[in-house]
Subunit: 218 residues, 2 copies
DNA sequence: CGATGTCATGCGCCGACTGCTTGTGGTCGA
DNA sequence: TCGACCACAAGCAGTCGGCGCATGACATCG
C-alpha cells in the first residue's frame, strides 16, 4: 500500500483531501504544520508528500528543502494559493516534483499522485511499527528518532514475524517454527529476543508470561 | 548533458521551445509529428519528452502509451491547448509525468523539466550516490571530494548495479547474474567487491552477512 | 612480432561473525 | 513459598567472507 503524508494547516481541506485519498486505497498520515510534517517526513517512509506552500511553524518551501537535505527521496507535490509563475518555479526548484494551484480539482490531485507513485516502484518497501519501521530493502530497523539499527539475518527475520502483527501475542513455538529450524533448542527464541532488546531497547519486545512475546512500539 | 525530445506540430512554437531549452544547456531533438516522435523516442535515449497533446500522424496520448508499452522510461511532460481537468487526468493516466496547459510560461516549462530531470539520475548521464556520483560517460566514479577513480568495465558494472538502489541489500546471486556470467565461480562477486573497496575505500560497499552487499555513500 | 601491461577469473587459507547451546541466577504467579 | 518460566551471559563450532596470489586472455606498444 502506498503511503502519503498530507501537510496542510486548513483542517477542513486537509481532512477532505486525506479522506478522498484514503478512499482510493492509500495509507494517509496528516500534519497540520511544517514542524510536525518535518518530523513525520524524517521518521516514516512515504511515497508521496502533499505539502501546502503556506504553513505555520515551518514554511512549505523550507520543509521540502530540509527534507531533501536529509536525503528524503519521497516525491513531493506542492499545493498553493499563490498562483504566480514565479511561485511555481520557486517550489519546483526547491525540490518539489509537482505544483498544483488552489483551487484544484480532487480528481486531478489524485491523478498527479498516481503519476508520482508510478515512479516510486522500487522505493521504500517498509513495515510500520509504531513510530518506527522496518526497511525491508536495507534489512534494518529504523527507530522513531530516525536511528538506523543494523540487524543480523535471524534477528531481522524474528522482528519481521513479530511486526507482521504488532501487539499480538506470538507463542514461542510459532516463532521457533517460522524463524528457526524445528530442531532448534527450545531457548533459541529467548536468546534472539534478548539480542533484539539489546539492540533496540528494553521495551520493544514484551514478554507475556506463559504465552510468548509481543511487539511494542519501535 | 541532459537529452530532451520536443514533439510539437506548430513549427514556431517547437523551435522557440527547443531554442530556449538548448540555451539552458540541454541537448534537444525535435519531431513535428507523432510518428517521428515515436521513432526517435524508441531509438534514442532521452531524459525528458515534451509532447503536444494534439499531433498529426499519431496523437500525443497514443504516443506516450506506445512508448510506455515498449518500456521507455523517460519522463514525459504533456503540453496541451485542452485545458479541462478530464484531459489532464487522461494524460497523466496514459503515462505522462506532468501536464502543462497552453498558453504556458517558458520559465515554468523549464522549471518543470528541471524537476523531472532530477528524477532521471539513473537514466543516462550520472548516478548520484550520497555526495559522489558515477560518471556513466567516462565510466569512472567521482568521490565526494571530487577525486575521480577509474574503474575497469566489470568493476564499474558491479558498482552501477549496486548504485541503482543504494542502501538496499543486493543478494550475491543477483549480482552474479546481472554482472557476470551465470557459470562464473561463486567467489567472483567477492573478488570484485574487494577491488571496489581497494579503489574507493573500505566503507563504500558494506557486507550484510549471509545475504549480500549494500552500497554506502561514495 | 615479441614484450609488456591490464583485465578477468579461479583457488584457497585464515579470520571473523553468526547461529546456537548451555548454565546460572532472577522473576513471576499461584 | 515453591515451581515454572524467563533474562542474560558466555562459549563453541561451523560457515561465510576478505584477501592475496596465480593463471590465462587480450590489447597495446615498442
Amino acid at each position: 500500500m502506498r503511503r502519503l503524508l498530507v501537510v496542510e494547516d486548513d483542517t477542513d481541506l486537509r481532512e477532505m483531501v486525506s479522506e478522498t485519498l484514503a478512499d482510493e486505497g492509500y495509507h494517509v498520515d496528516q500534519a497540520p504544520d511544517g514542524q510536525r510534517g518535518l518530523h513525520l517526513g524524517l521518521t516514516r517512509p512515504y511515497d508521496v508528500l502533499v505539502i501546502d506552500r503556506r504553513l505555520p511553524a515551518l514554511d512549505g518551501l523550507d520543509l521540502i528543502t530540509r527534507l531533501r537535505a536529509r536525503a528524503v527521496a519521497a516525491r513531493a507535490l506542492m499545493l498553493t494559493a499563490l498562483g504566480t509563475v514565479d511561485d511555481r518555479i520557486a517550489g519546483l526548484d526547491a525540490g518539489a516534483d509537482d505544483y498544483l494551484a488552489k483551487p484544484f480539482d480532487l480528481d486531478e490531485l489524485s491523478a498527479r499522485i498516481r503519476a508520482l507513485c508510478r515512479r516510486t516502484a522500487d522505493a521504500t518497501e517498509a513495515l510500520r511499527v509504531g513510530a518506527g519501521h522496518l526497511d525491508l530493502a536495507a534489512r534494518d530497523a529504523v527507530l522513531a528518532d530516525g536511528t538506523r539499527v543494523s540487524l543480523s539475518a535471524r534477528e531481522f527475520e524474528l522482528l519481521r514475524v513479530l511486526a507482521a502483527r504488532p501487539g499480538a501475542v506470538h507463542p514461542r513455538a510459532a516463532l521457533r517454527s517460522r524463524v528457526f529450524d524445528e530442531a532448534a533448542a527450545a531457548s533459541i527464541v529467548d536468546t534472539y529476543v534478548y539480542y533484539l532488546r539489546r539492540k533496540l531497547g528494553r521495551t520493544v519486545v514484551q514478554t507475556v508470561h506463559g504465552l510468548g512475546y509481543r511487539l511494542g512500539a519501535l
